[in-house]
């Protein structure tokens, strides 16, 4: 009896040890790429740095400097504009595309392939590609079309008023397809009997959408909304590749500012400060959002 117990115990122990051993490489990698950098960012942001080396502890001085910097204000405001424009342009597009494409009887798989296609275009390649189309000279395709229509060629991305919306347009082009596929999967999960019942009750197409389809999509849309906000808040590639943050900082985002501090100006401390601030803002957004949706659910 006793022997059996201790046998079981040592068995359990060896099971634990081998479990942890197998997990060890992953723990090392997560530490190397995620957890330690996270903590190091925090420490870095509290120090004066020279290149990537820490010189001395300065407390919150970096934060004070960054928060006073007018470029930071510009980047912060821009980033919020990115998010707002992405909600105006980007949020509804996948839902509408999904609703329409899901109704298609003919060419169904062709439509799915084409809406997913831009997702497959690698990020940097997609941006360079759109760079050709938005070429501000008369050599760009979109300007050629404008000229054909008898309009003046536009500056496109070089126009500070248009940069952010156009970058968001490109981001939407690139990523709306996969989001639409998620909605399509959700739409196909809707019980067909609901529609039949609504039909028998004499509900028209519009009322079916309002009373059946949209409520069924609600939870998916809610989740994708917060993911989109978090995703767009970190916008970096688009301004980096297409505008370099210009014209005149009009498309500078917080992450691009952090990148510039680190790899252009070589002030790692300030870069880490911006990173930490972005993380804090994202945490607040997530928290507020969770709180708000919870209250909604209780009603």
């Amino acid at each position: 009896m006793n022997k059996k117990m201790s046998g079981k115990l040592s068995n359990r122990l060896s099971e634990n040890i081998s479990g942890w051993l197998i997990l060890l490489p992953s723990i090392v990698l997560f530490t190397f790429y995620i957890w330690e950098p996270m903590i190091y960012s925090l420490i870095l942001s509290l120090n004066e740095t020279k290149g990537f080396r820490m010189e001395r502890f300065v407390g919150l001085q970096n934060y004070i400097d960054v928060l006073k910097d007018s470029v930071f204000h510009q980047a912060l405001i821009n980033t919020f504009f990115y998010v707002i424009w992405s909600l105006i342009i980007g949020f509804l597009v996948p839902i509408i595309v999904a609703l329409i494409v899901n109704e298609m009887v003919y060419l169904n798989s062709f439509f799915r392939f084409s809406i997913y296609f831009p997702n497959m275009v690698p990020g940097v390649a997609a941006l360079v590609l759109w760079g050709f189309l938005f070429d501000p000279s008369e050599g760009g395709l979109l300007n050629a079309i404008r000229i054909k229509l008898g309009l003046q060629p536009s500056d496109w991305l070089q126009n500070p008023k248009l940069t952010i919306p156009l970058l968001i347009f490109i981001m939407t082009w690139k990523s709306a397809g996969s989001t639409a596929l998620i909605y399509i999967a959700r739409l196909q999960g809707i019980n067909q009997e609901l529609y039949e019942a609504a039909c028998i009750d004499g509900a028209g197409i519009f009322r079916r959408i309002i009373h059946i389809t949209l409520p069924e999509l609600y939870s998916t849309a809610r989740m994708l909304l917060i993911m989109q906000i978090i995703f767009v808040f970190q916008v970096l590639y688009e301004p980096l590749v297409l505008t370099g943050g210009g014209p005149n900082n009009a498309s500078l985002s917080l992450m691009l500012l952090s990148y510039n501090y680190a790899f252009v100006d070589f002030v790692a401390g300030k870069s880490a400060t911006v990173s930490v601030l972005v993380t804090l803002i994202l945490m607040c957004l997530t928290f507020i959002y969770m709180k708000a949706t919870k209250e909604n659910n209780n009603v």
Binding site: F117, N143, I182, C199, S271
Partner: protein, 292 residues
């Protein structure tokens, strides 16, 4: 009887379609779908076609919207001039290592968390879940510092290994492994199968669908990966396709615009081939991926 008469799925059904107004609406929607497909496909197509225009037509201002001349041999000459074979090989090396790391390390982590569950595993799992919330690009500077500290800059190793620490893939594996019937695992354990062998003899063969999904995700991600390779690989000889594309869109003014356009197309081609072959897994993957 056309297929519209038997439509029973979706919001609009065949009964509605008997009304002329709804039928008209349906055809408008079909037209809109075609427009959507056009917007998705046309930009790369235009770049492709216009990069093949002859030099005279290419230089024309304003450009022709539908090209008139074609010189398909440009595809090959540009490839050779830009030496793209080298960048392709580099990118393939990056992709191959990344996929292996993504499957092995995240798979093992998912396996331990889902099946072995050693004492205290929950703590690690929570840390992993928590790191899902942390934006990936934010850690760039410290990661770079770590890589430099190990003298691994200019090497593919840190880029490969970065795919081994992906909280999202861990979660995909964990959720999939949770569905494997416990009886199979218990039976193997009673037969005295050690944990690691249990993983590759029993768990992995049962998990082909999720391995496919992670493979496709990580192929796509590592092929498109730009920022970390860009700051780690400073040696021109080891540039990947993405770094090359980025670099040429700025510096290198000697390169003509049609060459740049073709280079972008070389970068797009492999992922497109991937979608065409693995469309089924991809659609599945996108949907699984959304449920994180």
């Amino acid at each position: 009887m056309s297929r519209l008469d038997s439509k029973t799925t979706g919001i609009i059904n065949f009964l509605d379609l008997r009304k002329p107004s709804v039928k008209a609406l349906y055809y408008i929607l079909l037209f809109i779908s075609c427009c959507i497909a056009f917007v998705c496909l046309a930009p790369p197509l235009w770049v492709f076609l216009s990069s093949l225009k002859n030099i005279k037509e290419f230089a024309q201002v304003p450009p022709t919207i539908i090209p008139h001349t074609f010189e398909p041999q440009k595809i090959i000459t540009t490839w050779k001039t830009l030496n793209f074979t080298k960048y392709y090989i580099n990118s393939f090396i990056l992709v191959a290592g990344s996929v292996v790391c993504a499957i092995v390390f995240n798979g093992l982590a998912g396996y331990v968390i889902s099946i072995i569950k050693p004492r205290g595993y929950r703590f690690v799992f929570n840390l992993i879940l928590w790191s899902l919330m942390i934006p990936a690009t934010i850690n760039l500077v410290p990661i770079f510092k770590n890589i430099v500290a190990l003298k691994l800059n200019n090497s593919y190793i840190p880029l490969w290994l970065s795919y081994g620490a992906n909280a999202f893939y861990v979660l995909l594996f964990k959720n999939f492994f949770d569905e494997i019937p416990r009886e199979i695992i218990e039976a193997a354990k009673i037969d005295g199968c050690p944990n690691l062998r249990l993983f590759y003899k029993i768990v992995m063969p049962l998990s082909v669908p999720i391995i496919m999904v992670v493979t496709i995700f990580s192929i796509n991600a590592s092929w498109s990966d730009f920022l970390l390779p860009y700051i780690v690989l400073k040696n021109r000889e080891s540039y990947t396709v993405m770094i090359k594309i980025y670099e040429m869109s700025f510096g290198n003014t000697w390169m003509s615009a049609d060459m740049k356009m073709l280079a972008v197309l070389y970068a797009i081609l492999p992922p497109v081939v991937l979608v065409i072959f693995f469309q089924k897994y991809l659609t599945q993957g996108v949907v699984i991926g959304s449920l994180k």
